[in-house]
Symmetry: C2
Subunit: 290 residues, 2 copies
């Protein structure tokens, strides 16, 4: 695997935020960008646990790094943060840049199975395997065996599904801000699965958090969701957190394992994420540091 | 004075960030935008003290509201925040949009005296008088008799100079991130004063924090400055915090009145501001709430 290229570095909360790029084989050898926050406490003899943050539609690796308000709590808890991009960039597929909810900026954290998307749109493999391998090879002081995952909107769907599919061998806990909880039952998921998957929405069930949690009876889960009641996408039934919660309860998971909190007045923006980000970091720290 | 128009509102840290616009007579009747954060504790019977934040070159009223990390501390302390824009917009003066450090986005928080700028570029009056009057007329639950001021870079120059000129009848304390401290002695200030002021750099001395603090012997001051040693503009001698500190000490102000802290490794970005913003809010709270 080729070495990471450092694009920029900024000191923040006594740690360092570094932007890297590397040629991604998962993404068909396109250049992939990501941001990594290392707390000042991380060292080769004392590597930091890591929290991945998956961003939402239209975002890049930068939005949450600039506006998410994760650094103060992560610095205090001694947790590294990894912010990947939301899709391949520059695959030059027809239609790739035509809509905000499909193609560029909208990879949905799945491995596409349908041509022509399947050559480049392998965001699942990129996040789950490729990024930790690349950072590990670069000898960053991060303990990838001690990882959790969070995200917003499409990235909340990503965080929940990666956790539910990979389990605690990869991620100790999952949280989400305003996640798309039931993509096979909402317009965003319908469009994405029909576009990226040979089997369409039926195949999409494998990547649907509400479908996935139904099959977790008897497993111990650590999930926290915050979603705003003033969120227009919640009101338009793109998010459907109630479906996820009902499926979780039906599978036997109580509040101690799956918390779904609907927050009065908050919308879909980074102002909402920034309000609850510190609490999510501290919540993950309980699982990452015990 | 015409009423404020509300453009947007977002809940954040249990308070509300609202974007307003109004036709500004100080700015030659151009439409002016600003953001206002109200903590949930503010009410007509218990109005909040206020901290103004003046932004730097190229910024608008949005940058620090999105990336500055001021809300958590302000919510906790019960302090309102006002984020004005950095210049008039759309004055249609020749050359207005040609450079990042003069004209649009670069009003320098002074009242221009030179044609054609003097018709619109009256940011001093806009910030000191017009904005509080407009917000007060709109009956926002803010106690404008209890105000402090902060800012970044050009806005740090603004915060220091407004405080030093208006004194504690307007502002109880001033802080600044990476401020331009001695504009008559640096390229940014030289360009701005020659462009906006009939008397050029000589007239600019009236708007220069290092010159102004020299005349404050015997006055009690509350000033806090943070500037990064990894800041390329510091290294290029655009900021000159040492000049300000020397002038402050010469005028008899010790560390208890004027603190100038040079922070190792930090650059000029919002990552630096966000790191120290909570501490600045808490520092101002001591003066706003006693």
């Amino acid at each position: 695997m080729p070495a990471l290229q450092q694009k920029s570095a900024n000191k923040v909360f006594n740690g360092t935020l570094t932007k890297y790029s590397f040629p991604s084989s998962a993404l068909g050898n396109l250049e992939a960008n990501l941001n990594v926050f290392l707390p000042s406490s991380a060292s080769s003899s004392s590597p930091a646990p890591v929290l991945y943050y998956l961003s939402g539609l239209t975002c890049t690796e930068d939005n949450a790094a600039q506006k998410g308000n994760f650094f103060e709590a992560a610095a205090k808890e001694g947790i590294a943060l990894v912010f990947p991009d939301t899709s391949p960039r520059g695959a030059k597929i027809e239609g790739e840049d035509e809509s905000y909810d499909f193609g560029s900026g909208a990879g949905f954290y799945i491995d596409a199975t349908k041509d022509p998307w399947s050559k480049h749109y392998k965001m699942y493999t990129h996040i789950v395997s490729e990024i930790p391998a690349a950072l590990q090879e670069a000898k960053l002081p991060i303990d990838f065996s001690c990882a959790s995952i969070t995200g917003h909107s499409m990235g909340g769907h990503g965080a929940l599904t990666l956790y539910l599919k990979e389990g605690d061998k990869k991620y100790k806990s999952a949280s989400a801000f305003s996640p798309i909880c039931h993509p096979t039952a909402c317009p965003w998921g319908d469009k994405a699965f029909k576009g990226y998957l040979e089997g369409g929405v039926e195949e999409g069930k494998k990547h649907d958090a509400t479908e996935l949690i139904a099959g977790t009876k008897g497993k111990k889960l650590n999930i926290l969701i915050d979603s705003g009641l003033g969120d227009n996408f919640y009101q338009q039934k793109q998010l459907l957190p109630e479906d996820f919660e009902a499926a979780a309860r039906k599978a036997g998971h109580g509040e101690d394992e799956v918390q779904v909190r609907l927050q009065d007045g908050y919308d879909h923006s980074y102002f909402f994420i920034s309000t609850y980000a510190p609490e999510h970091v501290r919540w993950h720290a309980k699982f990452l540091k015990n």
